[in-house]
Amino acid sequence: MWTWFHRLASPPSFFRFADRLAPWVGGLGFVLLAIGWTWGLVYAPPDYQQGDAFRIIYVHVPAAALSLGLYTGMAIAGACALIWRMKLAEVVMLAMAPVGMVLTAVTLLTGMLWGKPMWGAWWVWDARLTAELVLLFLFLGVIVLGDAIEDPRRSARAAAWIAVVGIVNVPIVKFSVNWWNSLHQGATVLSFGKPAITVDMAIPLYICLLATALLAAHAVLRRAQVRLLQREARTQWVKALRAQELGALP
């Protein structure tokens, strides 16, 4: 029963798996994001305090949740790469880093755009904001280290160490609003018990969350495919694939 899972760890079968999965994941994510944004930005009721400005949560919250999720995923993939020396885990880890960094940057930028009218400042040096900024630099560190060394495997494992050590920052970001007296509001969506958000606003938010996750997964799959092709360029299966795509080589 688990053989398909084990087979997935081999580069050629992962490549084919990703190739088949990616268009569906990406297409579904695109459609859901269109639905979620239209619902959230046009049809959801305005907030009684913030008016229409609250609608930035349909970008901000999914990006923030995914930035933490991708970092955690990257650290887990990094741990797998270090413990079991899995080639595929290295590739997936390095594929996650740029996607996570972009989502972290989107989180910070949308938060700043919202902060100016609501808090009166683009930026405050507050626990959650600072920890999210540190997350951006951790992603950057993994990206830089992932390509710093000529031997790609050594480079990937070095980056994996930074990803694993940096995981201490993830709970700090998530729980900073509970631990410190932060200006950032507490968790309203992803908290235990009854969510502190009305259903009319919550459903489009959940749709956006799912859509962003699917689009991020699509980007990670495609990036992993490209990395696999670059890394395995000399192997038989890549040559066969190229021959199949471009016709026989002269």
Binding site: L82, T130, A131, V134, F137, L138, L140, G141, V144, L145, A148, I149, R154, R157, A158, W161, I162, V165, G166, N169, I172
Partner: protein
């Protein structure tokens, strides 16, 4: 045990041949603090308010200077390879090496911070909390920087990449370290931030030497 003392002695002897290497970070520290003071109006009382932050950032930057080349000479002359093959566990060797580096570098910076703090108008027990915090802070920096140096061993770009890897992780250390002195300035108990700093030190001292050893082995396969 004898081999451990030997490694420690080797570090001390190497530094004695290159006294300038030990003095340069201290001179750099003085220069950073001096430029901050020049950047403000002469005798600006606001400088005293920022002094803790300046002293902490100055110490972190100065301690960062020698880190990219921490394992460079061992890598170049093949000592590192011998360490990987030695009967003494690599973890122990690396831990001793980092400890020796901290004794000769971090400790000196923590001591150096006291007269600099007096220049910036800090006085009383705050000086003690500053030095105590900096001792733990430079130790954590040595461990984190040691891991980065192990990861980057033999790479020409190490000097520019290492700060990028280490400085984000130093954020909590700087927050709690300067927080201890500020708590004392405000009349609060500085024990809580110092305990937090201590727990960060305990965590990094127990986990990071193993990571360093594994990263060094990574350089050779």
């Amino acid at each position: 045990m004898k081999s451990l003392r030997g490694i420690f002695r080797r570090e001390v002897d190497l530094l004695r041949m290159q006294v300038l290497d030990a003095v340069l970070p201290l001179a750099f520290y003085l220069l950073v603090v001096m430029l901050f003071a020049f950047g403000t109006r002469a005798n600006d009382p606001a400088l005293a308010g920022l002094s803790v932050s300046i002293l902490w950032v100055g110490a972190v930057l100065s301690a960062l200077l020698p880190l990219p080349r921490l394992f460079a000479s061992e890598f170049e002359d093949g000592t590192l390879e011998q360490w990987c093959l030695a009967s003494t566990p690599l973890v122990v060797i690396v831990a001793i090496k980092l400890f020796a580096h901290w004794c000769l570098n971090g400790l000196a910076l923590a001591v150096m911070a006291v007269p600099l703090a007096v220049l910036l108008g800090l006085e009383g027990a705050g000086l003690g909390y500053l030095a105590l915090g900096l001792m733990m802070g430079t130790a954590i920096l040595t461990l984190l920087g040691g891991l980065s140096a192990c990861l980057l061993v033999g790479i020409p770009r190490a000097a520019s990449v290492l700060p990028l890897l280490v400085l984000p992780l130093m954020a909590p250390v700087v927050i709690f370290g300067s927080g201890a002195v500020r708590a004392w300035q405000l009349g609060a108990d500085p024990a809580a931030p110092l305990y937090f700093l201590g727990s960060l030190f305990a965590l990094s001292a127990t986990a990071l030497p193993w990571a360093c050893a594994s990263a060094l082995r990574n350089a050779y396969d």
